[in-house]
């Protein structure tokens, strides 16, 4: 079954490319390093006392979620959301595992509640006072596309816009040899069932079984900078959105399930027709 959704907002953050504008320019061959490189964004949605000790995963997820909603000109409190991370907060997990191995009774309550996979989603809904449901998911190597499909499904079935946030952080400690991920990367999309005056792209999509699935490779200037992050599966779609031209993409949702996407740029003006 062929479905259609619209991209109404987009955001990106990595230390080298701390906004969608930076990422889009870099995709198009114009990489301008930020003048002041921050290690992570400041999670301004949190209370000042919580900002410093918020995990990296929360900081980056809240940043891109807020920017995508701004671009879509939608009140974040009105949106259902899907939060995706391959490994969750690897630094918190490393710390909790280390404490458990040595001094389990000293497990930190803050680290424990920050270790849950839905920590970023929880902080987001608290920060923007959103009572709408969120989900927090993972599909290992297929996380970006599998969670994108859940977000697209919600937009179509519920006939309302949805916020999709995907992120992974740098691995730390012994766990990093197994759950590999480098750097900090967050991206967010607002997906809607119909076009609006902020629409930047139309996505026609369907899923199909494909035993010889070859996902669209990422070959933009972003690839060498970001391919070490576990969420690098977002790059082909981001490159296509940055290019702003008609493209067909194939994303792997699972080893043998393909998400076929046909992307058409949209300038947000079609809604003006009488």
């Amino acid at each position: 079954m062929r479905q259609r959704i619209f991209v109404d907002g987009i955001a990106f953050w990595s230390p080298q490319l701390p906004s969608w504008e930076h990422a889009r320019a870099a995709c198009n061959g114009d990489y301008r390093p930020p003048t002041t490189a921050a290690a992570r964004p400041t999670p301004t949605l949190l209370a000042p006392t919580e900002r410093r000790r918020a995990p990296d995963s929360v900081a980056v997820a809240l940043e891109v979620a807020a920017r995508a909603c701004e671009q879509a000109e939608l009140d974040p409190a009105t949106l259902c959301s899907v939060f995706a991370s391959t490994h969750g907060d690897l630094a918190v997990t490393d710390s909790v595992c280390e404490t458990l191995a040595k001094t389990p009774l000293l497990t930190s309550p803050t680290k424990f509640h920050n270790s849950v996979h839905n920590a970023a989603a929880g902080y987001w809904t608290i920060g923007v006072q959103c009572l709408r449901p969120y989900t927090a998911v993972s599909a290992w190597h297929y996380t970006f596309a599998a969670a994108l499909l859940e977000a697209a499904t919600q937009a179509v079935v519920q006939q309302e816009p949805i916020l999709y946030v995907a992120y992974d952080i740098a691995a730390r400690g012994p766990l990093g040899t197994m759950a590999q991920s480098a750097g900090l990367l967050g991206t967010a999309l607002v997906l809607a069932p119909g076009p609006s005056n902020t629409t930047i792209a139309q996505l026609d999509w369907f899923t199909r079984h494909n035993a010889a699935l070859t996902a669209t490779a990422s070959d933009s200037p972003l690839t060498p900078i970001l391919a070490g992050n576990a969420m690098h599966g977002c790059l082909p779609l981001l490159e296509a959105l940055a290019a702003g031209s008609h493209r067909n993409l194939s994303l792997a949702v699972s080893a043998q399930l393909e998400l076929a996407l046909e992307l058409r740029p949209h300038n947000g003006e079609n809604t003006q027709t009488p």
Binding site: F112, V116, Y134, T135, A139, T153, P174, L175, M178, V253
Partner: protein, 393 residues
Amino acid sequence: MTPLAVTAWTATSAAGAGRSELLAALRERRSGLSINDFGATPLPTWIGRVAGVETQTLPEALLPWDCRNNRLAWLGLQADGFLQRAAAARERYGADRIALVVGTSTSSIGASEEAYARLDANGHFPADLQRPVVHTQHSLGDFLQHALGLSGYALTVATACSSSAKVFAQAERLIAAGIADAAIVGGVDSLCGSVLFGFNSLELISADPCRPFDAARRGINIGEAAGFALLEKSGSGPWLLGYGESSDAHHMSSPHPDGLGARLAIEAALERAELPAAAVDYINLHGTASQKNDEIEARVVADIFEPAVHASSTKGWTGHTLGAAGILEAVITLLAVESGVLPGTLNSQALDANCGPQIRLENAARPIEVALSHSFGFGGSNCVLAFGNSRPH
């Protein structure tokens, strides 16, 4: 929503492997809780430990996924012939047309914890645990996809204690959008240091068997469980009639003081099921025996439901099985719908003053039509499921 038939369903917990053991434990009010003997330095508490997880072996082809959580998942698949029912569905629909959506809180983090306790001289994981798949959140979903021979959509949902309730909602949407023709949903969470010492650090662990809704309750007991359900567009039922999801937007580890998110989730479930609150016969409450949850949930239930509804927490049988609580308690709710056995609340003596007449200590037995299951989690994630004995017209 268009109701979905629950055509196969099972759960394995401290209260027994499979539906008949669970139903017998519920009927005879036999708790599965035992004194905590998990790990090298057990905390003084009670746990809901599943018998036989340690001695369970995986088939050779599934050994790369070997860990406590996936052993428990495998044990759970054997009960009630679920593996065979899933295989039959795979033949019927095709391996790519059945969505697999499973919930967990900590997945196989127990394997990562064990590796940290056994690091070699160079600080590396021991050789037997150098298996990346068991050190990531999707370990559970990936294991089950291989164990069930499925090739379609596969996702692990991890929204803490609402995880394996929300899988029913996602499955319904995937089927409605035509991405799958049927779905296998479920959840598995197993005992591990993170949850025992983590909840202990939050001062939420009870030294005694948990007493949900008791005025003198002292906290939760951690349990482990595996459960699964097959959802199809047609069948003989029972039926998934509706679901409701919401966020508290209040606090990471404490529920909204007025139960706002819980109320929204209940209302949304009833709306999707097109039923008034008065139609509900039985509610399996979240009822963790924590101070806050039970106080707030009791008030919400007293406000929304008729005095005649039979509402109870079954945590006294199984402990709080966290990411598996949604599916385990969905199965208990389905058992109530099917058998008319309405569990009371185990271990509790004197109900908290916030409890209305809905919350019951004693079991009851009568045919029922509509039942809800509540799941409320860390991060303010709420999900309520509505099940029915027959398909509404």
